[in-house]
Symmetry: C3
Subunit: 350 residues, 3 copies
Amino acid sequence: MSRDSQTGYRLGEIVERFGGELIGDANIVIKQVAPLSTAQPEHISFLANTKYRHQMQTCRAGALIIAVAERDATTLPRILSNNPYAYFAKVSALLNPRHTEEPGIHPTSVIDVGTTIPDSAKVGAFAFVGKSARIGERAVIGVGCYVGDGVEIGEDSLLYPHVTVYHDCVIGSRVVLHSGSVIGADGFGLAKEDGRWIKVPQIGRVIIADDVEIGANTTVDRGALDDTIIEEGVKLDNQIQIAHNVHIGAHTAMAGCVGVAGSAKIGRHCTVGGAAMILGHLEIADHVNISTGTLITKSIVKPGEYTSVMPFSAHQDWLKNAAHLRHLDKMAEKLAELERKISELERNKP
Amino acid sequence: MSRDSQTGYRLGEIVERFGGELIGDANIVIKQVAPLSTAQPEHISFLANTKYRHQMQTCRAGALIIAVAERDATTLPRILSNNPYAYFAKVSALLNPRHTEEPGIHPTSVIDVGTTIPDSAKVGAFAFVGKSARIGERAVIGVGCYVGDGVEIGEDSLLYPHVTVYHDCVIGSRVVLHSGSVIGADGFGLAKEDGRWIKVPQIGRVIIADDVEIGANTTVDRGALDDTIIEEGVKLDNQIQIAHNVHIGAHTAMAGCVGVAGSAKIGRHCTVGGAAMILGHLEIADHVNISTGTLITKSIVKPGEYTSVMPFSAHQDWLKNAAHLRHLDKMAEKLAELERKISELERNKP
Amino acid sequence: MSRDSQTGYRLGEIVERFGGELIGDANIVIKQVAPLSTAQPEHISFLANTKYRHQMQTCRAGALIIAVAERDATTLPRILSNNPYAYFAKVSALLNPRHTEEPGIHPTSVIDVGTTIPDSAKVGAFAFVGKSARIGERAVIGVGCYVGDGVEIGEDSLLYPHVTVYHDCVIGSRVVLHSGSVIGADGFGLAKEDGRWIKVPQIGRVIIADDVEIGANTTVDRGALDDTIIEEGVKLDNQIQIAHNVHIGAHTAMAGCVGVAGSAKIGRHCTVGGAAMILGHLEIADHVNISTGTLITKSIVKPGEYTSVMPFSAHQDWLKNAAHLRHLDKMAEKLAELERKISELERNKP
């Protein structure tokens, strides 16, 4: 774990900032967050999942953040909140502010013509910023990043090392792009003629709105004709593939290894479980939750949870079972035949 | 969308180059391609999917590229083609030629001993080219690329920024490698002894033939003993994993997130849908189409389409259903027993 | 294939080093390993899979490594071993030693304050090593790598070009990280409040023990509060996603495209097939083997093999079948009804 913050905050200060009801000594100083199981007196911990409630009994934390309903479940100093996990997130952000980068342009970086870097921004070693790019105040272009010609990067955005942004893409404010992410590579547009593939030039861009975070090695392709669009507050985990002309609605979150095929339109406030796949040209309504490993093959018009998981079993059991998986139609036919026969037998009953 | 090309082309010029029948004024000047829904008079659009035919009614494009059968479906100036999408691809390539890179070696790049860069080629900032590499005429090594010792890169090939090519790999002509792709990392070769893994040195190479395109963050491993081979005209989308000693036949295309395990041999003119997986040591015939999300566990000897998708449903419906998925063998047994009983009942019929 | 090693080794020397029984001339000189099908007299080949036994008949290799049971299956010079593949791996490593990098710090690299690079280590061109990092003897930091502040890298570890290690992560000795791998990016920790995501700071680290190898473009996220831990001897293939706070036991191996969700605890000596997915907060026992493409949704307490694969079929067959996949509950109900009716019929038998 990283070192504790130097000075810490009093519980009283924390409640003043973030609200909630404090039970216990307002002068207790908290220096860091920690899990229930390892927290020490200078730490604050939280209970968001009642499954871990028993850990509160032996917990040595200086204070806890818990749900209002858990008020009497501990004698430790505690902050009651309607949303303990979100409260905890804010306290942790207070104690672990984003590392402040000293602004400045590293002498090894290359800034092409027509691009001005604000004094408040930072460009790391070996970073390359192309022609006529626009870089916002306090933006950080990490070590070895590539920012193509005409790219726009908003205020306070952070590109970790080794991010690639192809030409003309637009990145909003307070966006975080993790290492290895590639924004704006060509979409997979191919026409077939005489058994050979002809490339369809990909002349759209990627537009990423404010407050988006994109994980390590995630790829977002530029549009074929129109743009690929990621609305505000979208959170994408690692190793996700977003194809050309996809549109992702605001505040949707996708876990690792998800794939979204071309021109799919995903609603707002959706969640997509890890390794789920969404076919192209579909529409997914707002507030849809797609389970891990689920393949979405048709548009979804109603909010709710959708699943297509094949349950696992011990291999020997699976072997016995799998043979039938390919012959359900035969099974259904047999069943229909038996129904017919039984009806007949019943009709002939003495 | 990117800016329109400066001068444009007359419809007459386009038909002269690419054939097809022109209906309408040959002097209309086209500056860019655009979708039916947003095209303006200086744009040319296309109809390849009859699903979008209704959009032609309100389309404001200067001209359309349509199938011969659609000849009378619009009054707009139009080019009739047997393959409108391929025709459109060529027109778009004409209007959107690949950005011409000024040749030259960026002063920050490092070229190791024994390597000569042709005057017509370009090496970007922070690019590294190893010992005794061979770089073709007009090849472009993008910003921050790594080209290992002994690598060969053919004429007119384009490595976008942050491509990695390990030592001794061979890249053909007119190949495009997108950012974050890694060519020639070690295959996953391990022998087990006393519960520990011993690495099997991977001494093969990757050989990529002409006119191949490889997407962002795709990985192609070098062979264990022999080489991994990607034949001409193959197109790989993003985030694909090609294991050691795989052989992909000419003009096969794979969508994003596909995985191909070691020593699989894929035929020519195949298509592989997104996130499909192909097990190792299999052979797939020419002209096989594998559906999205399908796991191929056995060799395929006949052309055609193959699928193993579990259909998704609302989570509650899936829950009711999933319990049975693991017990199909029991269901089959019950069915057999009922058949037996019914036969007996029928035999005993009065 | 790469060139043969210059001088080679006599069969006698090989058996002296690695044991086994030699049948044939101890003075035969072996310069390289090769497959049975293409081996020449200066090569040694092996048979680990009896499926390839017929290839021994026409094999031109100078010698073979075979199982004791195959003693009389060939007349070629041969080494008998209880584990021919592991034996072969060692011989290949002898003939193909890791390329020795000349130590030294490339003049284009940047080493930040407080970091000392041992004379025996190598730092490649455009590599960046942050503040107060600790780099072990003979470690190699490849071209364009990023090693964050406070990172520790053990002796003899090898970072191929374009590896990213975020701040404070710990990499053991003899670790190999392939190009494009990203170690220590933020885990996907989000709390929801009023329909918006609040980032939970990820303050843990990644700890990678000795003798781990991590494939190209694989990502291992830093822990949320505690650390993400990869124990010794673990082997991860390409394009794998390891989420925050995952713990992988020693000597476990995972094939390409696997995903492991947050806080999953995987045992020792497990194998995970390609594209398998493991949900978060699960525990997997030691010696568990998970099949390719399998989704693990519950903890596994017993060693053994586990599978959840949907078998593929020709698309037309699948279409007929798939309709029933979603209605197994209906099928089960029908079956139960028929059973009831038959019982009744049997009871009423004359």
